[in-house]
């Protein structure tokens, strides 16, 4: 009896079919009041689709939804809102042309004499941010924020309406550990107030840190629900992938780092973006860059790739001085760059999978008449689809129809395809499931073994500690420490960052 009272949401036998794909083949989900339910599944398992149905932006092809035990028909996003369901979508969905406050209060603006009261709106936003401990100016335009800040705005927007159910679809994929902490604080606060939360993530440690229960989907099927306290990473992975996976990180059996400098930066500087960057990467080496949000990691690698062109400093490849002024120069020098923002910087959403895979390297696919050999493109793409287990109905599918994680895999394929000497990866495993992560790490290691130098930015400390050979810590647009990942610990890194923050704070 008490069970009925406590169950706030039940989804039964939900079905959804897309052209060529059965996204959901009869899925069940149960959510209790005041609890956090983790939702796990490989890329393309159907998590986001299920959540979009709950949020009213997709119509299910079958199944029932019960809210507080009552059968409910969610016809559109407004119905969902009315029922107290709030969602943070996997893909950022803010208006770049509006301010932070205007985005948060979109369709919900405070009104005076029939006109929007901007002052009131900004004031309320400021209050909300203070309550949530978010440090963003309410009147700044969203397009001027970094992705991580935009994600925080999304979070604030979702909770601002005091919903009874909050859906969070990979909210931390664009956040660093500090902001993740802020998010967890918010989650706990709302949970204590009786709000229920559905939490999707591919990061196991987060699942264990914040959820009470975990439901698992596989290939659009409901696999089961377990209590977080009574399960293990291994069990969850087995539920997700359907087989045992003994480890999350592959062994780097035989390291093969040549003692020469593939890339070297000397005093690389761009005003307002990065300062006095001295670093090198050796062939076969994986160099990790770690730092907090806004620390400038992305800017440094954009500098290397010629997007944020340096003002001063020198770059050497193989000891020879090179000058890289734009991405074209960078690619000419065999550098590849997987950007952190796949939607805006990585993919052509309206183009097909194979066109995305071949786009950085189209010259390779020309026949003797200098015409594109589509067969070869398709064959190559199919190889990548197999290697990275990209879930798609085919090479001709347009990329916007893929799940987030699979889109990320397409971006990776694009850059693996040019067979670079230096591979820069900015949050490469963002949104990627554990199984595929393993494949990607393996590919990185294989590339390294062939003599490729890799720079990897990651906000996941365990990942960066396990995968990189050498670690640079970035803070306030500078390199502040070089560490050996084998010797260091999460605690040591955090003290570097915070200590630096304390000492340099007043002087900056």
């Amino acid at each position: 009896m008490s069970d009925v009272v406590n169950t706030i949401l039940e989804m039964k036998d939900i079905k959804k079919v897309f052209p060529g794909v059965v996204a959901l083949a009869g899925v069940n989900l149960k959510l209790d009041k005041g609890r956090v339910l983790g939702l796990l599944g490989e890329n393309g398992a159907g998590k986001s689709t299920l959540m979009k149905i709950l949020a009213g932006s997709y119509k299910p092809d079958g199944g029932d939804i019960f809210i507080n035990g009552e059968k409910t028909d969610i016809k559109g996003v407004l119905d969902a809102k009315r029922l107290g369901i709030s969602i943070i979508y996997q893909e950022l969905s803010l208006c770049p042309n509006l301010t932070v406050a205007e985005n948060i209060f979109a369709m919900n603006e405070p009104v005076r004499f029939g006109l929007i009261d901007d002052n009131e709106m900004n004031r309320k936003t400021k209050e909300l941010f203070e309550e949530l401990e978010i440090d963003i100016c309410p009147t700044v335009m969203v397009k001027e924020l970094s992705i991580s800040s935009q994600q925080m705005v999304e979070i604030a927007k979702a909770v601002s309406v005091k919903p009874q159910i909050i859906i969070m679809d990979e909210p931390t994929s664009a956040l660093s550990s500090k902001e993740t902490e802020t998010l967890f604080k918010i989650i706990r606060k709302f949970k204590d107030e009786g709000t229920s939360i559905i939490y999707i993530s591919h990061r196991m440690e987060e699942i264990f840190a914040i959820t009470d229960l975990v439901s698992v989907l596989r290939d659009g099927q409901y696999i089961g629900t377990v209590e977080t306290g009574h399960t293990s990473v291994e069990e969850l992975i087995k539920m997700m992938v359907g087989r045992d996976m003994d480890k999350v990180y592959p062994h780097k059996d035989f390291k093969y780092i040549r003692d020469e400098k593939l890339l070297e930066l000397k005093a690389y500087t761009k005003k307002k973006y990065y300062h006095d960057i001295n670093l090198f990467v050796r062939p076969g080496e994986i160099l990790g860059l770690y730092g907090l949000m806004g620390s400038g990691r992305t800017e440094i690698v954009k500098g290397i790739f010629g997007i944020l062109k340096k003002d001063s400093g020198e770059m050497y490849m193989h000891g020879k001085k090179v000058s890289i002024n734009d991405p074209f120069d960078a690619i000419e020098n065999n550098i590849a760059f997987v950007t952190e923002d796949r939607k805006n910087e990585g993919l052509v959403l309206t183009a097909s999978v194979y066109e995305n895979v071949s786009m950085a390297n189209i010259s390779k696919f020309l026949n003797r008449f200098r015409l594109i050999n589509e067969k070869q493109e398709v064959a190559t793409t199919e190889k990548h689809i197999k290697d990275l287990k990209i879930k798609t109905p085919g090479v001709y599918q347009t990329v916007n129809k893929l799940s987030g994680g699979n889109q990320q895999k397409v971006v990776l394929s694009k850059w693996f395809e040019i067979e670079p000497e230096l591979l820069i990866l900015d949050e490469p495993t963002r949104g990627i499931d554990v199984g595929a992560k393993y494949e990607i790490y393996k590919l990185m290691i294989e590339l390294a073994q062939r003599g490729v130098g890799i720079i990897m930015i990651s906000s996941e400390l365990p990942e960066i500690l396990n995968v990189s050979d050498r670690l640079l810590v970035i803070n306030e647009q500078r390199i502040i420490a070089e560490l050996d990942p084998k010797e260091t610990s999460q605690e040591e890194i955090m003290t570097y960052i915070t200590r630096r923050g304390e000492t340099s704070g007043p002087s900056a």
């Binding site: 208006c95 979109a106 603006e109 006109l115």
Partner: protein
């Protein structure tokens, strides 16, 4: 009138300069230039004439700003002006009173706009194509109604609206254009409706996610554009003392140019009615100034093209500078 207060103070503060600095600079530069080139340019009378001349395009451009705001376009507004003018002429000459006729004309404009909005939203056809098509349709209907003949207008109320001067100085169209400026500005930048338009223009997906019915909004926006065209047609008809089926040819491009000069983005999400008004003034000043200087027609076309490019460039550069501060 009370609710207009809050944003009127913008006129005196930095935000105003920040928003309109580039286009204002272009306008002032042009005015200085022409006042040197022609002694007649800066006369009060001439300035008022320019304002009256500009009123027709300006009102069209207000409407256009709304469509551009949601990332769409309306190439049929010139044709709607012509059609509405014809309807006005037919109504008046069939003995209807001015007020009834005006109401009917506004209705026809709204319906024409609704047709555009409905067809494009319902059948998901790009508005560029829908309105290129309806441009032909509305004009065709206009021609067919009168068999391409103009209709003379003698109604004193209509003629008053287009030609009279308040206190013997200020042309009535100028009063109307300024009043509509305030209404349109408040509607676009201060109401929920305007905000929804901005959201749709910024990110259609996000708009749907927050529960905006994008299709309904699009229909409403096209109705506004249609109504603006209808108002414009009343002033134009009065100004010409007749309804002309071939009136307002190519005005759609002038209206778009005015809006873009004023900083409205063609891809949606950015734009202000005040900027659009300034943009329309720039166009009007160029035309008037070159006429006063007596520049030959061919060179007028060339110079006008160059000035538009330079003016938009000033605005683009100005915005970039503002952002980088």
């Amino acid at each position: 009138m009370k609710q207009v207060g809050p944003q009127l103070k913008n006129f005196t503060n930095l935000k105003f300069v920040k928003s309109y600095g580039g286009v204002l600079a272009a306008l002032i530069a042009l005015m200085v230039l022409f006042s040197f080139l022609s002694p007649h340019f800066l006369q009060t009378n001439n300035i008022l004439t320019v304002l009256a001349q500009v009123s027709i395009i300006a009102i069209l451009a207000y409407g256009m700003t709304f469509v551009l705001m949601i990332g769409e376009i309306d190439l049929s507004v010139g044709a709607i002006v012509a059609l509405c003018g014809i309807v006005l002429g037919v109504m008046l000459s069939s003995g209807q009173g001015a007020v009834v006729s005006i109401i009917i004309v506004l209705l026809v404009g709204a319906l024409a706009g609704l047709f555009n909005g409905f067809i494009s939203a319902k059948f998901r056809i790009p508005t560029f194509i829908v309105t290129v098509a309806t441009m032909g349709i509305f004009r065709g209907v206009g021609y067919a109604i009168t068999d391409a003949r103009p209709i003379q207008i003698e109604d004193p109320i209509i003629l008053f609206l287009g030609n009279a001067k308040l206190f013997d100085v200020i042309p009535v169209p100028v009063v109307i254009v300024v009043m509509l400026l305030i209404v349109a500005h408040v509607l676009l930048s201060k109401t929920k409706f305007g905000r929804q338009a901005k959201i749709v223009g910024g990110n259609k997906v996000a708009a749907e996610y927050v529960g905006i019915n994008v299709r309904t909004l699009q229909m409403k926006i096209f109705m506004i554009t249609g109504i603006a065209a209808a108002i414009s047609s009343i002033l134009l008809t009065a100004r010409l003392y007749s309804a002309q089926p071939n009136a307002a040819g190519g005005y759609e491009l002038d209206a778009i140019a005015a809006a873009v000069l004023g900083g409205t983005s063609l891809s949606g999400g950015y734009g202000t009615v005040i900027g659009t008004f300034i943009g329309a003034l720039i166009m009007g000043v160029i035309n008037n100034g070159m006429n006063l200087v007596g520049m030959p027609y061919f060179y007028q076309q060339i110079v006008k093209g160059l000035i538009i490019i330079v003016a938009v460039y000033i605005d683009v550069r100005n915005k970039e500078r503002m952002l980088s501060k």
